[in-house]
């Protein structure tokens, strides 16, 4: 955990020239060597894909690779990054597993706000770098990242898809392929009014629209997809 040391009045903050190897390129910056690499890469190097979330090694939004291993960049000083091989989200597409995962994240429309997704992808790519299809437990163990939007089900599905686990459980932009049930909307004329002081809106005749539901076995801790029969354009 980074230490918030007290700066004494008048104390001189030491600046050091540091040479980083980031995404296969050499970058030289002049800065405080005790600064967490998170802030060095964002403010000094100018690669802002690596995100600040908590600064205390919990949320993992700041995950980068150091010599191929996912590390929380808020927990590593800038000086510690010198001489190491650093990969950030901006360099992820150069790795085969990274490119596959990025495409899977697009295909399954994984990100919502997107802020945590850099860290998610750095962690997920490392999981797939060795090949093979990870189990649910392995994915759960590898992805300890916090996502406030709740993209977890789709992240998991995307990891499986990128790993070649066959038809993903969630197929947001394609038509459902498994069993379907149909929910027909109801057609109402005038809604019943209640005995309340607030007026109830009346509704008009509606166009029934079929929806299609993909059902799932309860035991599988993954998300299934319900979508309308209208396909993607």
């Amino acid at each position: 955990m980074p230490q918030w040391g007290v700066i004494e009045q008048g104390a001189h903050v030491e600046m050091t020239v540091m040479k980083f190897n980031i995404n296969g390129k050499s970058v030289t910056v002049d800065g405080d060597p005790s600064m967490p690499f998170l802030w060095a890469v964002r403010d000094l190097v100018g690669l802002t894909g690596t995100k600040y979330g908590c600064g205390i090694e919990i949320c993992r939004a700041c995950t980068v690779w150091v010599d191929g291993s996912p590390e929380k960049s808020c927990d590593m000083s800038a000086s510690e990054a010198v001489g190491r091989t650093i990969t950030t989200i901006e360099g992820l597409s150069a790795t085969p597993a990274g490119a596959k995962l990025q495409q899977a994240f697009i295909d399954l429309q994984v990100p919502q706000c997107g802020y945590c997704q850099s860290g998610m992808l750095m962690a997920a790519t490392r999981l797939l770098s060795g090949g093979g299809v990870p189990s649910d437990a392995q994915i759960d163990s590898a992805i300890g990242n916090i996502c406030a939007c709740g993209t977890y089900p789709r992240v998991k599905a995307a990891i499986k898809k990128a790993a070649g686990a066959g038809t993903p459980v969630t197929t947001p932009t394609t038509k459902p392929t498994t069993t379907t049930t149909t929910t027909r909307s109801t057609t109402t004329t005038t809604r019943a009014t209640t005995t309340t002081t607030r007026p109830r809106a009346t509704t008009t005749t509606t166009r029934p629209k079929a929806t299609t539901t993909t059902t799932k076995p309860k035991t599988t801790p993954t998300t299934t997809k319900t979508t309308t029969t209208r396909g993607d354009d």
Partner: protein, 718 residues
């Protein structure tokens, strides 16, 4: 290597203004923004600098030289996909394929507040009209060139075809001529049965940049010559700085901001570190230092017992107290929910550059137009000299409707005379939130011997975000949403709101009042069903008799969880219904004692929603998935407590968040009853989760949990 956010490489990127010049021609400049006069907007607008009517006549659609279109977006894209959804609406009527569509942020004057799950339903018609108007002038231009009637032309994929000769012209070829024509005021819109883009799960335009690090959030903005600021807010509510501290080493300036002090340095880390270690003397109003969760609760309990309800009474029908007194069976229970921080991933931030003649602001904001008006007032510049770049938001959840952090950044920039980016630390963000109010809600349900509900009463005590912002209207307000507007039918009903007052800052949290009242009402309905010896789903069906849409949603959720068959051993099932934001929702959940130390774990969630029409079903599903997960997190662990006038939340260390390994299996069913009933979706996923969990836990254990969160004090180490 610094980064210019105003010249990003992707056409999808935010903040890009290329359509105002270059090869793009604006042709859709015809739409008058009808400001959604929501209660929230009115109230905050009154309390902040007058923001004007937010009525802009401006362009939404530009045709590019490569025969693509760039569709502007006036709201806040914080992951809910409305930038895409609204572009789908415009593209549908415009007559281009989705692959020809780009999106970008509109100028602030054209923007609107994004809140109340209003983004799609409040603007979808506007964008459809914009698309139809654009198509009309494009067709008109082609028809004139060919000397034929517009009715002799057809449109597909951005190409106008002369149906008699087969001649074609692209939109790009026609755009210049079309831009000089006057569009029809009320163009004919397509029938939903012929939609090809609306109603499809069109891929979101903002996603590709979110997987490679190139998406620009507010916190990523870099402008030439800028410095970095961090904040130290007064730890105690209502306190102000007394005397300006000396500039510490490693920093270049200290700027007093009333209730906070900013520290300016050459990078974010240095600024945050100096701010954290800064010693500041604060002046705190008498009494504020003694504010605690206990004192706030005691105050609420006193108001519950003897407080005077606001007028007009929120809901009054028949004689609820009399019917309750006479009822042979009755449930009376008081439910309690906590102050809640918003806890999005991107902390508050704002970048400001001011010159004698201009002010430019980049902000992660839900209210760009308010920023423009506020900055104009603060700088003395005309609003036209204020440019607001609404960046992508790393979540907002209602907090980024506020302007406190923006006003701070403007003040800092004015004071130091340099462009500045202000970034709050996570600790400052969580401990100086504008929290979802805590609430006490007493529910009284009287039943006859047969178990029919004869009396419904809710007495709700909480702070009012609206009144804290200077709202002077009737007490009818967001706080009783979910109680005063229930779908259930009761012969006698009384819903009262008793306002609690406190300096604790409260605000609008995803689903606002419904997040509080749905927990109380749906828990109490469950308690009544059990008292009456009735199945909770059947009990609700009776209360919704004749309401076919509501019944369809309730039955769908029950069916998906397998309600008609017994739950497995060790599994408890619960159900809850919710209506709000123009949509209907029901959720059935299964819980076990599989959490740490035998605590509640949510295993399966089946959610049915009728939002009328899903512009993008995939994104409706995503919003419900996310709402469920936020709902579970909040119900299990979410809270802020107060002691010595200070909020407890600091970081994720003491604000536990659900992780992937704890995420239940989620199934979402979308029922579409018609585009005329289009409802909101962003907040709809949250409210029914907590009561469904409480109901399931009661079914499993026999223990009724009436206080949220279920497990206070949880940490990420648990």
């Amino acid at each position: 290597m610094s980064k210019q956010t105003t010249t990003t490489t992707s056409e999808y990127a935010f903040g890009r203004r290329a359509f105002l010049g270059g090869s793009a021609t604006v042709i859709g400049a015809f739409v008058l923004e009808a400001a959604p006069a929501t209660k929230i907007a009115e109230a905050i607008g009154a309390a902040q600098v007058a923001a004007g009517a937010n009525t802009a006549v401006n362009g939404w659609i530009a045709i590019n030289a490569d025969n693509t279109a760039t569709i502007s977006f006036g709201g806040a894209e914080m992951g809910q996909g409305i930038m895409t959804g609204l572009a789908q609406a415009a593209a549908e009527e415009l007559g281009m394929s989705w692959s020809q569509i780009h999106t970008q942020a509109a100028p602030a004057a054209q923007g609107y507040v994004t809140g109340g799950s209003y983004g799609i339903r409040g603007h979808v018609d506007q964008m459809r009209v914009a698309g139809a108007q654009a198509q009309a002038v494009l067709v008109s231009a082609a028809a004139t060139a060919w000397g034929v009637s517009p009715s002799a032309c057809s449109v597909a994929n951005g190409i106008v075809t002369n149906t008699a000769t087969g001649a074609t012209q692209t939109f790009a070829q026609l755009a210049s001529a079309a831009s000089t024509l006057t569009p029809p005021a009320s163009p004919t819109l397509k029938s939903p049965s012929s939609f090809g883009i609306m109603g499809t799960s069109a891929p979101r335009t903002d996603i590709p940049n979110k997987v490679d690090g190139s998406a620009i959030f507010g916190i990523d903005v870099v402008v030439p010559g800028m410095v970095y600021a961090a904040i130290k807010n007064c730890p105690t509510v209502g306190g102000t700085v007394s005397g300006t501290p000396a500039v510490p080493a490693g920093a270049s300036a200290v700027v007093p901001l009333g209730n906070a002090v900013a520290v300016v340095a050459s990078n974010t880390w240095a600024a945050m570190q100096a701010a954290r270690n800064l010693s500041v003397t604060w002046s705190v109003p008498a009494g504020n230092q003694s504010i605690s969760s206990a004192s706030l609760l005691a105050d609420a309990q006193s108001l519950m017992a003897t407080g005077t309800p606001g007028t007009p009474i929120e809901l009054q029908a028949g004689d609820a107290p009399g019917a309750f007194a006479a009822a042979p069976k009755k449930v009376e229970a008081t439910y309690q929910v906590p102050y809640l921080p918003h806890v999005y991933m991107e902390v508050l931030n704002c970048t400001v550059s001011i010159t004698p003649t201009s002010c430019e602001i980049w902000a992660s904001t839900q209210a760009p137009a308010w920023i423009q008006a506020t900055a104009a007032a603060m700088t003395g510049l005309d609003p036209s000299a204020v440019t607001v770049h609404a960046t992508l938001l790393g979540g907002g959840l209602g907090r980024k409707i506020e302007l406190d952090y923006v006003i701070q950044a403007i003040t800092i920039a004015k004071t130091i005379g340099k462009p500045v980016k202000l970034t709050w630390s996570r600790e400052e963000d969580m401990s100086h939130d504008q929290y979802r109010p805590a609430a006490l809600m007493r529910v009284r349900l009287g039943m006859d011997d047969a178990g029919s509900v004869t009396s419904y009463g809710v007495r709700h005590v909480s702070q009012s975000p609206l009144f804290q912002r200077g709202w002077t209207g009737p007490t009818g307000n967001d706080n009783t949403d979910g109680a005063a507007d229930v779908a259930y039918q009761f012969p006698n009903a009384l819903v009262e709101y008793v306002m609690q007052k406190s300096p604790v800052p409260v605000g609008f949290w995803r689903s606002v009042g419904v997040s509080m009242n749905c927990f109380a009402v749906e828990s109490a309905i469950d308690e009544a069903a059990l008292l009456a010896g009735k199945d909770p789903v059947a009990f609700r069906r009776t209360l919704l008799a004749g309401k076919s849409r509501e019944l369809a949603v309730l039955n769908k959720a029950a069916d998906m969880i397998g309600w008609s068959t017994p739950a497995a051993a060790g599994v408890g099932r619960g159900i809850a219904f919710s209506n709000g934001f123009g949509s209907l929702a029901a959720v059935a959940v299964e819980v076990t004692k599989g959490g740490t130390g035998g605590t509640m774990a949510v295993k399966n969630v089946a959610f049915a929603v009728d939002c009328g029409f899903a512009v993008n079903p995939n994104q409706v599903e995503a919003q419900i998935q996310g709402g469920i997960i936020q709902g579970v997190t909040s119900a299990l662990w979410g809270q802020t407590t107060f002691s010595n006038g200070q909020a407890s939340s600091r970081n994720f260390s003491n604000s536990r968040m659900l992780l992937m390994r704890e995420t239940p299996a989620i199934t979402v069913a979308i029922i579409q009853s018609g585009i005329d009933k289009i409802g909101g979706i962003g907040e709809v996923g949250v409210p029914p989760i907590a009561p469904a969990m409480a109901n399931a836990w009661a079914a499993l254990t026999g223990t009724r949990a009436r206080t949220l969160p279920f497990y206070p004090g949880a940490t990420m180490s648990d």
